[in-house]
């Protein structure tokens, strides 16, 4: 098991290496540069050149890349051109927000999706099944940003039930040791701050959960239907086991295997959706920061953020593979 994890982590290195070259070449081909964003239309040619020199952008691209890699060796991703703060610092102040949001969405999707998919399969052809299948098909087709906007207008603006933007109510003065606002409140004992942060998560979390929820419902349903037809479920019934034992140990345990894989794959889509949801709810995560970084041609931020996101994605999938091998003894990792 340990050897498997180490090998997978080692495999991450060439992937990230390739990604960095691809990104570097790609990003530096972006028309315009930070100097245009800094100076606007007024700057003279000389001012532009000066900025390029201070940022080291006048050197050949492989020299720039070499410098980037050298810094990377000491885990330094450079400084943001916009803010002048280290990229890693920018990332880790915003990352918890996105993680909180994505986690909320995933929790909603699994907690609602798995039971719903299971019930739909058990009552195949019934009203609940029809409703679950139909709404999950529609759910995949609703643009996330539209859903987010709809929620915002209905529940926040018109009904005033929940906050409409941000991560916490401006007046609240809370300390944030970890950056995960809900967790922070619990740690410091400021439960009202926790509750407030949680309330801010509900609407964006719901909007973001729509697609994973729809997919999890459908996958669980299909998987349960397949397992229900398996011989070992019949064996379990022939043993006269209690319905709950059959349900949990023999049906769900097997039916969850493909769903677990899907959850891993869905995280990539979740990060995409987060970019849109964050911008609707002005939720200060990495998504909105990347948007401005593109406009600003903030190369170090773009490079660093995308590589860190890719690393996160690969790590999540590693986690999924490990949990898969725990759940399915036939797939023992080597």
């Amino acid at each position: 098991m340990l050897r498997f994890i180490v090998r997978r982590l080692l495999q991450l290195i060439p992937t990230l290496f390739g990604l960095s070259i691809l990104l570097f070449v790609w990003l530096h081909r972006l028309p315009g540069g930070p100097e245009a964003a800094i100076l606007g239309d007024r700057g003279t040619a000389q001012q532009r050149a000066e900025i390029r020199t201070t940022l080291g952008l006048d050197e050949p691209i492989w020299v720039q890349y070499g410098r980037f890699m050298k810094r990377l060796a000491s885990l330094d991703l450079g400084t943001s051109i916009q803010s002048g703060r280290p990229v890693t610092e920018e990332f880790f102040t915003r990352f918890p927000a996105t993680v909180e949001l994505a986690l909320t969405a995933m929790v909603i999707a699994t907690v609602v999706g798995i039971p719903l998919g299971y019930l739909a399969a058990r009552r195949r052809g019934g009203l609940l099944d029809f409703g679950a299948v139909t709404s999950s098909l529609v759910g995949i087709c609703v643009p996330v940003f539209f859903l987010a906007y709809l929620f915002k207008v209905i529940f926040a603006v018109n009904l005033g039930l929940l906050p409409s933007s941000g991560r916490q109510t401006p007046g609240i003065d809370a300390t944030h040791p970890t950056g995960f606002y809900v967790l922070d409140g619990l740690l410091t004992g400021e439960f009202d701050a926790s509750w407030d942060a949680f309330a801010h998560l509900i609407l964006p979390g719901l909007a973001l959960s729509s697609i994973p929820l729809a997919i999890i419902v459908r996958m669980t349903r299909a998987s349960v239907l397949e397992v229900l037809g398996e011989d070992y479920v019949r064996t379990a019934e022939a043993k006269g086991l209690q319905e709950n034992t059959v349900r949990v140990r023999h049906v769900l345990r097997n039916a969850m295997l493909p769903v677990v894989t899907a959850i891993g794959l869905l995280t990539g889509g979740l990060l995409s959706g987060a970019v849109l949801t964050e911008s609707v709810f002005a939720f200060g995560g990495i998504g909105s920061f990347i948007r401005t970084a593109i406009d600003f041609r903030d190369y170090p931020v773009l490079m660093g953020f995308i590589m860190l996101i890719a690393t996160t994605y690969v790590l999540i999938n590693l986690l999924v593979d490990i949990s898969y091998s725990v759940l399915d003894p036939r797939v023992r990792v080597r």
């Binding site: 070992y232 006269g240 140990r249 345990r253 399915d328």
Partner: protein, 336 residues
Amino acid sequence: MSLLTVDELTVTFTQRGKPDVRAVDGVSFTVDQGEVVGLVGESGCGKSVTSLALMRLLSGRNVKIGGSVVFDGIELLKLRSEEMRDLRGSQLAMIFQDPLSSLNPVVPIGVQVTEILTRHRKLRGEAARKEAAVLLEKVGIPDPTRRLREYPHQMSGGMRQRALIAMAVACAPRLLIADEPTTALDVTIQAQILELLKELVDSQGTALLMITHDLGVVAGLCDDINVLYAGKVVEAAARRPLFAAPTHPYSVGLLNSIPRLDAPRGEPLKPIRGSVNDNIAWADGCAFAPRCDHYTIECLQGPPALTEALTGHRYRCVNPVTTHEPPAVIATEDGR
């Protein structure tokens, strides 16, 4: 009184937009205490469906079950499903055809054995594990404590079937239904498994309903034999009369199609021509008629009735085989 009395059991599968399929069509037979009864026929004749119907394991809205199944004085088809659950595994147990797919791949063998002990014998924890090891030992699995921790894919086919048998006999059931228990196994293992079944049944006094397409299995094991064709019993008799004087042309065909070691070299096998799908509706006549060498136009005038001879030999044929072909001699190792 018989332990199990199946009377006019019918199972019909319905599907929207398609005609109903009657897989089991008025099957009746009995199993006495400690008796071994065979249910014989080709694939598709309804023998597995019969066994699943007895265990009430056919569920869903598109299955209709009629007739009656009385076990130990209780009408099984009318039991509430919770009451049936209490009987399954403790009074009636079942062994299935494919031991690999019949075992849960992600749960250790030990748990799959102990869960039935917990359910019906209220054994928990260490006591359950000890008993499970004893059971595995009893069905001939060496090093049982280690095996209990293993998963089905780590065991051989024979071991898996032994494990399934261990689960089935865990609560000393009064009736054991074995649905083609040896079909998926190697020939050498087949003999061992049959031997094991016979031993267990003898020692526990359990009645056994053996479902198979293999007349060799029946010959070595069964007291009574029911031959099924297209959902109906076409011939029923004790072992000796059936093998000595098969009456229904289908039984004759089955016996003749067995390769024989004493036949002259180079003699072709004698299969029954056609396949189970070449049948006609029982309502129109004998379903076997299209494949039968003896059929006449009388065979096509309505369903043939079941004729019962004085000896208890029953057959469903208007043109029974009168001039017996030389009786197939099949070595039976016991002298019962």
